[in-house]
């Protein structure tokens, strides 16, 4: 039984069946990739996991508890962090503050009225955030505003914000889209290092097969809202149905 169990999830948008009877089981401490053509319903599936969307039917269990009907912040407090397809950061705050916020959320919970302590006196939180920024090679940018970062840096910052929470499950929605080759390789390296250092389960949506094959232990291929096959990377590579449905368009 996996840490994440998705069973029979359906989601319609008007006449469009975005998800049709999706089953997915992600084992603890593995990296599970979800691939599939544009519009296959990959982001919609993640939205159902983090409380952004509520499925029409089916169940989503995380760590033995249902996430359905819970608010996004409650689901995050259960241990699921998500990197979005378009970076979601605090654009008006400094890079350091961006990373400190998830540290506060982790330590103090969904709300705490810490209104008269000074941020400068929070040495522990600060060090934790700085160490995380070191890990993603952004320590020199700690004073910059989120809005002044390049697109690639915004993605890396968002990843740092998720990782610093030490989530049990990290959801990544196309984390390397629009990144240069070198940055993509850095991201793969970063994610692999994190996995070596501590136990973390990942669920990654990705178009870049290089990234998928260097990270994932299992791959689910989604097409038109339905899982086509689920298998190991080696078997997926040679799978005729997959080649036809998806890999045919990509360079393998």
């Amino acid at each position: 039984m996996g840490i994440l169990e998705v069973k029979g999830v359906n989601k319609r948008f008007g006449g469009l069946q975005a998800l049709g009877d999706v089953n997915l089981s992600v084992a603890e401490n593995t990296c599970h990739a979800i691939i599939g053509p544009n519009g296959a319903g990959k982001s919609t599936l993640l939205n159902c996991l983090v409380g952004k969307l509520i499925p029409d039917s089916g169940s989503v269990m995380f760590d033995g508890q249902s996430v359905l009907g819970r608010k996004p912040y409650e689901i995050n407090q259960m241990g699921i962090s998500r990197v979005f397809q378009t970076p979601e950061i605090f654009a008006d705050l400094s890079v350091l503050e961006n990373v400190m916020i998830p540290c506060f959320a982790k330590r103090d919970g969904a709300f705490r009225m810490h209104a008269v302590e000074s941020v400068e006196s929070e040495a522990g939180i600060r060090e934790e955030a700085l160490a995380m920024l070191e890990d993603v090679n952004m320590a020199d940018k700690k004073g910059m505003l989120g809005s002044s970062l390049s697109r690639g840096d915004k993605r890396r910052l968002e990843m740092a914000m998720c990782l610093v929470q030490r989530p049990k499950l990290l959801l990544l929605d196309e984390p390397t889209a629009g990144m240069a080759r070198a940055d993509t390789n850095n991201t793969i390296e970063l994610l692999n290092t994190i996995r070596d250092k501590r136990n973390i389960t990942m669920c990654i949506i990705e178009h870049d097969m290089n990234v998928v094959f260097s990270l994932a232990e299992r791959i689910t291929v989604l097409a038109q809202g339905t899982p086509l096959v689920e298998d190991t990377p080696d078997n997926i590579k040679g799978h005729p149905k997959v080649r036809e449905a998806y890999l045919g368009e990509a360079q393998v």
């Binding site: 983090v50 608010k71 996004p72 912040y73 995050n76 407090q77 962090s81 998500r82 979005f84 979601e88 950061i89 605090f90 654009a91 008006d92 705050l93 400094s94 350091l96 503050e97 400190m100 916020i101 998830p102 506060f104 959320a105 982790k106 103090d108 919970g109 969904a110 709300f111 705490r112 009225m113 810490h114 209104a115 008269v116 302590e117 000074s118 941020v119 400068e120 006196s121 929070e122 700690k142 004073g143 910059m144 505003l145 989120g146 914000m161 929470q165």
Partner: protein
């Protein structure tokens, strides 16, 4: 010191010095000179400066940090005033219980209105707060007359119980005081042609303003302050980071409502009456203007904005045609009349026009308000000095982003 970093401490010290010396700073012109028109150092105007400063500082905690634009904050000001006057009627002319009750009642009121209004954001939030404030205004005017005394406004009466003071004080209305120290007591200091008024009420308001300004700095620099800025920046990211934005915004709303109630309570403490017009939407709009004019989201901006608007309201509005004629008297008659005609629409009753034009200019050219104007001037000056000293290093240091 005081748990502030050097920059904030300097700001705090400057504000403290300016506030304490205000009776002198605001009266730079000899009292019988033609320029005495522009002196603003008389007690009731100075009291208004700091009271509206408090109102705007509190409003800025909500609007400046979270971006939620309330259009109904005057309701809390009014509730504060009514509460304070009731304390003067029932309990004592001492201002302490009046101010405390004003803050508590307005805080409770803000909790209810905030809880409902914060279910929406953006324009819908603004409309909801506006609706609540107008409702309060109309209720105070009509249905709630037993509490608010309707159109006349709530006033002291000779037969008020005033339990702690031992009932009526004879033939005249009692005055507000702090343990016997009358709020209206003023010491006049004459130095040469100058005259300065040191008023007890002003110094009480000033001390309270400094205290709540200090509190605002602490809030701005706290983890809670970061969370409020996070609300403004990206609520979606906040929610997916495990933070519930609703209680944060509600807390900010209640705090700013309490600041408004404090301002209302002080207003009544300086002059013990309360009228419904204090809750009208124009009063709510005024604090929005003050905050934006001074610089929303900055520490000192709201205080500057409040001072600016109150100065205009009270000084420019007093310049009538007679005053203008006396200014331009040295000119030949034709030119004198011409100049008076030109200036006339902008002063006296036309002060709103001047203020409106200035507000537009600030919003268009200085989106960061007067504070941004000050920063630009400061940068211009230091930039020149650096160039003169050939200080490329200093330039580089300045460009290094502040943490």
């Amino acid at each position: 010191m005081l748990g502030l970093n050097r920059k904030d401490l300097t700001l705090m010290m400057i504000v403290a010095a300016m506030t304490l010396l205000a009776p002198i700073i605001l009266n730079p012109f000899p009292s019988d000179s033609a320029m005495a028109q522009f002196n603003a150092g008389y007690p009731d105007l100075m009291q208004r400066f700091v009271i509206f400063g408090i109102f705007a500082i509190g409003f800025n905690i909500l609007f400046g940090l979270t971006g939620y634009l309330s259009f109904g904050h005057a309701a809390f000001l009014g509730v504060g005033s009514y509460s304070a006057v009731w304390m003067f009627k029932l309990l004592s002319m001492n201002v302490i219980p009046a101010i405390v009750l004003a803050v508590i009642i307005s805080g409770l009121f803000a909790l209810v209105i905030g809880y409902i209004s914060l279910r929406r954001s953006g324009i819908y939030f603004s409309i909801l707060t506006l609706a609540f404030a107008q409702m309060s205004f109309n209720l105070a005017y009509s249905v709630l007359t037993p509490i608010t005394n309707g159109e006349t406004g709530l006033q002291l009466a000779l037969d008020d119980p005033r339990v702690l003071d031992g009932g009526s004080s004879g033939g005249s209305l009692p005055v507000t005081q702090l343990f016997g120290l009358e709020m209206r007591a003023t010491t006049q200091l004459e130095i040469g042609a100058w005259s300065f008024d040191f008023n007890v009420g002003y110094y009480l308001c000033a001390a309270i303003m400094l205290a709540v300004f200090y509190l605002a700095i602490r809030i701005f620099r706290s983890p809670f302050g970061i969370m409020l800025r996070a609300v403004k920046s990206n609520q979606q990211r906040m929610n997916y980071t495990g933070l519930n934005s609703r209680p944060y915004t509600l807390a900010a709303f209640v705090i700013s409502g309490m600041y408004a109630g404090l301002a209302g309570g002080l207003m009544a403490s300086m002059d013990p009456l309360a009228g419904a017009e204090r809750m009208q939407w124009t009063a709510s709009g005024e604090v929005v203007l003050m905050t934006i004019l001074g610089g929303a989201g900055t520490l000192i901006g709201p205080v500057l904005g409040a001072g600016f608007i109150k100065y205009f309201e009270n000084i420019f509005s007093k310049i009538n045609d007679n005053v203008l004629h006396s200014w331009f008297a040295v000119m030949p008659d034709g030119i004198e009349d011409f100049l008076v005609t030109i200036v006339h629409p902008f002063v006296g009753k036309g002060w709103h026009l001047t203020l409106g034009l200035m507000f537009m200019a600030v919003v268009i050219f200085l989106p960061g308000g007067l504070v941004e104007g000050g920063q630009r001037i400061g940068r211009f000056v230091t930039g020149r000095r650096n160039k003169k000293a050939g200080g490329a290093e200093a330039e580089a240091a300045r460009k290094q982003p502040a943490e």
